[in-house]
Symmetry: C2
Subunit: 115 residues, 2 copies
DNA sequence: TTTATAATTCGATAATACTGGAAATATGGA
DNA sequence: TCCATATTTCCAGTATTATCGAATTATAAA
């Protein structure tokens, strides 16, 4: 049983499966490697700090964003590798293994970001 | 405001963001173009018909599976294009448009499936 | 038509997730 | 030290989602 990986993928997916969180993630994707401090995100998406924090922790839990403290602020960044891994898992053993290879997008994007 | 597309993507994501539904989807990915009748899925994943039906309707609603009646059975198939569209949306305008192109995986896989 | 099979809808219950103000925690500057 | 800023945690109320047996609908075969 590969329930572990299945469970992991569900975490990634449900991290993104919410209006606010998807908006946050996409904002971070667009911000690129420099990321954005939580306050900026709250301002740009016009949401209360506590709600934002709730969603950020979900995204972090799902592994689709990373955080790093910088002074009083905490900088959030999208993790592009997570997208790769997700796609690979979703399309794993696709078409019963008739090597119809997919799933290595996002590779070029921000490569070496978290090296 | 592109809330429409954001909303659509949330539908796709939450369709997959559940243990059972993810398992169903992956089973269908592996089954390939021939798909599987609901009964087969229920048997292979050992779940009650009504629960399965509930989840299948979510997957259908999210556009990640299609259904087609064949006699008494209803055949379900994974929609690979949906994965493409999702990735494209997630990584849209990635890194502020520094053309770090991603997101066209799954293209080769089962191409022409729903043509 | 009657009977059997395949799947869905209904409905009540249980579980999980979302929201946002108020309080708590960190950090940096005066 | 004391104050301001940035963010998170706590909490409660509300809302959404999952579960599955029983009833229903659709199809096919006897």
């Amino acid at each position: 049983m590969e329930t572990i990986r299945n469970h992991t993928a569900v975490n990634v997916l449900s991290a993104l499966a919410q209006e606010h969180r998807l908006a946050i993630f996409r904002l971070l994707v667009q911000a690129g490697r420099s990321g954005l401090p939580a306050g900026q995100i709250a301002k740009q998406l016009d949401m209360p700090a506590s709600s934002l924090s709730f969603h950020l922790s979900h995204l972090k839990n799902g592994g689709v964003v990373s955080d790093e403290r910088d002074g009083r602020s905490i900088i959030y960044r999208a993790d592009f590798q997570a997208m790769n891994r997700l796609m690979a898992f979703l399309l794993e053993n696709c078409c019963a293994g008739d090597d119809c290879l997919p799933a290595d997008a996002a590779e070029t994007c921000m490569e070496g970001q978290d090296a």
